[in-house]
Symmetry: C2
């Protein structure tokens, strides 16, 4: 998608040096646009853990390229050890994200098929690139499916603007390109459907205020920022036509782990008969867990709540204390939205109801495994 009119992905190999992976450092957005170069698996893990990059798909792609960096850096005879150690390091960087483990496992599986170190390095690199390409392709495909829902609402409203609420950033910044929750919105815009997005600011990290609003603006999509508290009221006022969110992990039974606060919006949508959709590439499905309550929920630093960063009037990035110094805070990163509150899951293969039977029907090869 576009930044200042120029086409970007969120992660790509340095064209000048395959031993370097370039990412957009999302911590400084929207105030500063910085491209960061990663040259080791350790740097990749740090970038994931400290949220230089974040979001389901992008975490997966960064982990995949992190494994590539591990393979590049491995000394003679130590390639398998380097990949195994890299896998552990990456796996530990964010606990809730499904795409992370999925990507690492896929790299390890592919590497296992190689007959030489040289071939192994090549396969790891090619698989990392494939994971990134597929992520973009899957997001684009789910955008087409999701667009059909927006189109229906638009028609029912006689072509009036469709108001879509989203939480956190499941935009292209959270993937390699297009995004999950935003892909149907970009597709609708391309199809000439009038859309407007309510962007939850998404405390404490403000992914909505900092990233989603910014990326929609860069693409010329009309949007309005709201506090996380506001969505229920707007739904009561019929100012929201549908909700689309992303997910960090979805069980094969349809329970959705997503940024904390998603559950509250799902409850409000349900209470007001407003469709609530979750968009995801199939790499985000967890085919083993039967209950959302078994998904590990990340706990992050209380400083993300008690302090905040932003830009001063004279253009400096500054950090402020928001509370008394004595204030303790609890910072869980995700919550679970039970399948019963979800109107449907938008995947690259089409839209499915959020239940085991329908999900397995759409992905029969996974259901068998």
């Amino acid at each position: 998608m576009k930044i200042n009119g120029q086409q970007y992905r969120t992660i790509w190999p340095d064209p000048a040096d395959k031993a370097k992976i370039l990412i957009i450092d999302q911590r400084k957005l929207p105030h500063e646009f910085i491209i960061e170069s990663l040259s080791s698996v350790k740097e990749a893990a740090t970038a994931i853990r400290d949220m230089h990059v974040r979001g389901a798909g992008l975490i997966g792609a960064t982990a995949a390229f992190g494994m590539h960096l591990a393979s590049i850096q491995a000394t003679r005879g130590k390639l398998d050890t380097a990949l195994a150690e890299g896998a552990v390091l990456l796996d530990r960087s964010r606990p809730t994200a499904k795409n992370l483990k999925w990507a690492v496992d896929r790299i390890l599986e592919t590497a296992g098929k190689a007959n030489s170190d040289e071939e192994k390095r090549k396969l790891v690199y090619e698989t990392a690139c494939a994971i990134a390409d597929e992520d973009a392709a899957f997001c684009k495909a789910l955008g087409v499916h999701g667009c059909s829902i927006i189109e229906k609402i638009s028609k029912a409203k006689g072509g009036e603007t469709v108001n879509i609420l989203t939480h956190c950033n499941a935009g292209w910044l959270a993937f390699v390109d297009y995004g999950s929750a935003t892909a149907p919105i970009y597709a609708a815009r391309d199809a000439g459907i009038k859309v407007h997005v309510w962007v939850d600011e998404t405390r404490p990290w403000n992914q909505g205020a900092r990233l989603t609003a910014w990326e929609l603006q860069q693409e010329g999509i009309d949007c309005t920022l709201i506090t996380d508290n506001a969505g229920g009221h707007l739904m009561q006022q019929r100012m929201v036509d549908m909700v689309i969110v992303g997910t960090d992990r979805t069980t094969h039974t349809g329970d959705v782990a997503n940024k904390i606060g998603t559950y509250l919006k799902a409850l409000a949508a349900h209470d007001n008969n407003i469709p609530f959709y979750v968009a995801l590439p199939s790499s985000t499905f967890d085919w083993e867990l039967d209950n959302g309550s078994d998904i590990p929920i990340e706990e992050r630093s209380e400083k993300e709540i008690t302090t905040i960063s932003g830009m001063t009037e004279d253009g400096r990035i500054e950090t402020l204390q928001l509370t008394s110094p004595e204030t303790r805070a609890l910072n869980h990163g995700f919550d679970i939205t039970p399948a019963r509150l979800i109107s449907g899951l938008i995947t690259e293969r089409g839209i499915t109801a959020a239940n085991k039977e329908d999900i397995h029907r759409l992905f029969p090869e996974k259901a068998m495994s």
Copy 2:
């Protein structure tokens, strides 16, 4: 209640000069503790509109003392005009708050009974003092009733800590003393019941992060700050035993206007079978409106969302831009929690179900009027 160990109310006449009313300027809390002196009804209206003071009861008391300042300042023969103009000015300062109009109307009604300007001024002042005293007394009384609910939960848990979630600040800082939502908590502490409070930070103005956490700390009550997004997850995890919130206006049919986001917490409490109580002195009831949806909802500046203030490391209060400069925001101050989601209303006369019949049974003199 206490600040740095010393007893305070949130508003009081200057002992040295009755023509001045003292308030705590809540905009700088918890970083700076500033006592501000108001000497005109215009300053009182500004203090309400710009939130030097806020909260149901305190807005009422400030409006009452504002009318006193109008009466003091009125020139010869202009007292009635000054009171009428003061009433209009104050009425317009915050649209959702019921206590505001209630206090102004009560002052006007009392003033109407006077036979001379001198008597009128005296009655206005005495009524303003009475409104403040009653506010404190009603909050203290509702605290005793509310404490009985906490006590029951404590017994059911075998004396283990009762975890109470609250939204916004319906603490003593929102009233003249004790608070509404916090009064039962202070009463429980005094009764030796173990309590812990989950404090919603309450974007965008952060009443929870800045005021509730601070006032509970000043009183030695164990509390933890959470984002507004977190309550649903904590309820799913059974980490919340009950919710108590305040209200800015409650219809005599039991619909509750309170700080935006309250409705989302009520939905989550309902979905998890967790008791959800609203605490209010009867001055907050609207005896005319039958539907919560008819309560006017204040819209405030988008800058409350796109910028934020706090303290720098070197102790300066600074304001930061949180979003791209292009970002537009919508800032509704309140939402409506329908009566069906409310376990009960805690008033100075006792606890009632949130429906017309039961509310009228508890306040028969209002039901008749």
